[in-house]
């Protein structure tokens, strides 16, 4: 049963991305994993091919592609098997750049968006701090107004694209005494190279090795007031608004992982033999795979249905998207566990993608809002 989400144009676009991946990504994955980064030339190439900022209006370098084109890109980058690349591109292109589009001033849009679309400007979104993750209103970073400038003092961590971004969207407090505290949160833009800004340790992660994830330090960083996004004190609201898309993209990623893990494992159990027969013909294995296939089919219809509604402009889907984000993220982890098991010893070897996937998917239930936070949100919407 096909959900029928994509048009013929989307399928053509999918093929373009897939061809690009085969030619320009697959041969280099090991090298990028070892380097913990992806080359800028790759980003420029993606810009050239129209993968970046595709959804932007033409005057900013895009061609107003719909949300579903973003879904295609997200899926195909997961299928590239370079988890780090998929993460970095999605976080910049589908999660961070939309902040500029939705909350940025005209001047900010003109300055940055065309460069985002060309691959010249990678964007990082900096919320998390060493002592503040889920509880965003408790951040300690500040941006204090001083004449025509803000002075930013901040410590941020686990920042995707942290090591190689050109522009950092930073969540700060512009009013530390605001009550409730979230009303003091604002978003400011800091460009790479601004004095006082430094990239700290590049963090070693369990998976997604090619992703450039870093700690950042902002010490007395002076930025013009024009670098404020939108209005002071509205940062929390902007994040809440944009998190819907971020989480839906998270669910799309999780679903793509589920499908590929299942597909590869199905193939493996049909070819691997033991005790004189393919291991897929053992009933316990067969039923275990059926369990997974069933869950994935349910997840697919649910996530695609949300994508359809989101693409049509629905924005009152906070609870439903939270459901998808947590449930499919958790599912990807269960499936990874079972698929490694079915691969036996090979599943424990990094040369097998399933082993990488096992490590890559672990962040899906943590990043962009933990499963626990999702459940709090859903609970509230149910009146619990």
């Amino acid at each position: 049963m096909e959900y029928g989400l994509f048009s013929e144009e989307h399928q053509i676009y999918r093929k373009t991305v897939r061809d690009f991946v085969a030619r320009e990504v697959t041969p280099h994955i090991e090298q990028w994993n070892a380097a913990g980064d992806t080359p800028r030339a790759l980003w420029k190439r993606m810009g050239e091919l129209g993968f970046l900022g595709a959804y932007l209006p033409e005057r900013y370098g895009g061609y107003q592609a719909d949300f579903l084109a973003g879904v295609v890109l997200t899926e195909e980058l997961v299928y590239s098997k370079c988890g780090g690349l998929s993460l970095d591109v999605n976080v910049s292109n589908d999660i961070s750049v939309p902040y500029l589009l939705h909350c940025g001033s005209e001047e900010q849009k003109e300055k940055y968006l065309p460069r985002c679309a060309s691959g010249d400007c990678i964007v990082a979104l900096c919320m998390t701090e060493p002592n503040t993750g889920s509880d965003l209103a408790a951040i300690r970073s500040t941006a204090m107004r001083q004449g025509d400038h803000y002075i930013v003092n901040a410590q941020k961590t686990f920042i995707t694209n942290g090591g190689h971004a050109d522009l950092y969207i930073v969540a700060v407090k512009t009013d530390v005494s605001a009550q409730p505290p979230y009303r003091g949160v604002s978003l400011v833009l800091v460009e790479k190279g601004t004095p006082g800004f430094s990239i700290g340790r590049k963090l070693k992660k369990m998976g997604n090795h090619a992703s450039s994830t870093a700690e950042l330090s902002f010490e007395e960083v002076r930025i013009p007031v024009g670098n404020l996004m939108g209005k002071e004190g509205k940062g929390f609201l902007y994040m809440m608004q944009n998190l819907q898309q971020e989480r839906l993209i998270g669910a799309v990623m999780a679903l793509a992982y589920c499908r590929l893990m299942l597909e590869e494992t199905l193939e493996y159990v049909k070819t691997r033999t033991a005790f004189g027969t393919s291991i897929g013909s053992f009933q316990a294995n067969r039923h275990r795979l059926v369990d997974m296939a069933t869950e994935v089919s349910f997840a697919e219809v649910y996530v695609y249905h949300l994508c359809k509604l989101f693409n049509e402009g629905a924005r009152n889907l906070e609870a439903e998207i939270s459901m998808a984000k947590y449930r499919v993220g958790e599912l990807a982890n269960r499936i990874a566990y079972d698929c490694v098991q079915l691969h036996g010893g090979y599943g424990y070897m990094e040369e097998y993608w399933i082993c990488r996937a096992y490590q890559d998917v672990r962040m899906l239930t943590i990043a962009a809002g933990t499963s626990e936070i999702m459940k709090e949100i859903i609970g509230r919407s149910l009146g619990l």
Binding site: L266, H287, L289, A293, S297, V301, Y302, H305, K375, L384
Partner: protein
């Protein structure tokens, strides 16, 4: 999430049927449970008001309604926890055999009565030694002149006592190889000599539903009672019709999840422990959220599946998936919800206790979870 499959006329129908249920079903549930069977008059009343087989074409007494009307009926009966009045089994499982495979003469003979409530139906496949493995059934129907003579035993038959017409799976050619090619469906009317409704079975749940053992001893029916008037079609006919039967079970299971969650949420809001309503405990809230999420995901899948089923697409894999997973999840949901009710959950006067015993059979009937997984596994190439 708002459901998108229903149109305004379905909602109007839902309102009307809900009122019918509130007025005619709910007040009598206790009585039927005690009696171990629903009374015949509810069938007649439902028939008179157009709630039996509304999908049947007008020439046979129905109004050609689509499958969404059947969906509404199932959901509304489930909403009030009615598990004895096997209306959906009659309307959406058994009568479709008559409509799809019956000859014109057979349809004219039986369908109008099925719609009016004068004829309650059942289908008899399972035997004491043949459940999932249908090919192992042993009942025979031997041709003798213008008749078939049926011998055999059937068990776990829903509407077993109350039925006026039962469709019986038999071997018309016991020597056929493969065995299934010798299988046929025979229609037997109540009162036919040799058709004995032997024993109403005691079950752990669904107490108001009459489930019985049937015994056929030299039961002679006219050859015109062979469904479709062609021998050897029985197995294929069952395989085709089992799809809707399983879909019906899945629809009921998800509707049941919503009902159970509704009761539980309400209880958790009212029940106070350690100085606050138990819904204020994070564990309670998270567990409810997980169950609501599951119900939401299931409903979205099912609604999509219903649309595909109505289009006539091949949805064997998806129906099998929906059947096993919805029923397994329902079982887990009811168990978890009962836990929140504490001691009250163990008392039969609470609907959650009744649901606990009612739902146990869902992963068994209409194809066990294990059989569903075998079907899906085959279709995935394993």
């Amino acid at each position: 999430m708002r459901r998108e499959i229903f149109r305004e006329e379905h909602e109007i129908f839902r309102d009307a049927f809900r009122k019918f249920v509130e007025k005619n079903v709910v007040p009598r549930q206790e009585e039927w449970t005690k009696a171990g069977i629903v009374s015949r008059d509810i069938w007649e009343k439902a028939g008179r008001e157009g709630y039996l087989c509304p999908w049947v074409a007008e020439p046979y007494g129905g109004f050609g309604a689509d499958f969404l009307y059947s969906t509404v009926i199932m959901e509304e009966l489930t909403r009030v926890g009615e598990s004895g009045f096997a209306l959906s089994l009659h309307s959406d499982v058994v009568v479709p055999y008559l409509e799809a495979f019956g000859t014109e003469e057979q349809k004219q003979r039986w369908l109008p009565k099925c719609v009016s409530g004068d004829m309650i139906t059942a289908v008899a496949m399972t035997e004491p030694n043949a459940g999932s493995d249908l090919q192992a059934l042993r009942a025979t129907a031997v041709r003798d002149g213008d008749s078939y003579v049926i011998n055999g035993q059937k068990t776990f038959i829903t509407n077993g006592m109350i039925n006026d017409l039962v469709i019986v799976a038999c071997l018309t050619d016991p020597k056929a190889q493969p065995r299934y090619s010798g299988m046929s469906l025979l229609c037997v009317e109540a009162g036919t000599p040799g058709y004995n409704k032997v024993r109403k079975l005691e079950k752990i749940g669904m107490h108001s539903q009459d489930t019985a053992e049937l015994f056929f001893e030299d039961c002679r029916v006219p050859k015109e009672n062979l469904l479709g008037m062609k021998e050897g079609q029985g197995f294929i006919q069952m395989m085709v019709k089992l799809q809707q039967e399983r879909l019906v079970v899945a629809i009921g299971a998800v509707a049941s999840m919503w009902a159970v969650l509704g009761w539980t949420k309400k209880y958790c809001e009212e029940r106070v422990a350690f100085g606050k309503p138990i819904i204020k405990f994070q564990n309670t809230r998270f567990k409810l959220v997980e169950m609501y999420t599951m119900a939401e995901v299931m409903q979205t899948f099912l609604d999509r599946l219903i649309v595909e089923h109505m289009k006539g697409s091949d949805v064997v894999t998806e129906v099998s998936m929906a059947k096993w997973m919805a029923t397994e999840e329902l079982k887990k949901t009811v168990d978890q919800c009962l836990q929140f009710f504490g001691g009250y959950g163990y008392m039969v006067e609470y609907p959650i206790a009744k649901a606990y015993t009612d739902v146990r059979v869902h992963t068994i009937f209409a194809g066990t979870t294990e059989i569903m997984k075998e079907i899906i596994g085959r279709r995935l190439g394993m």
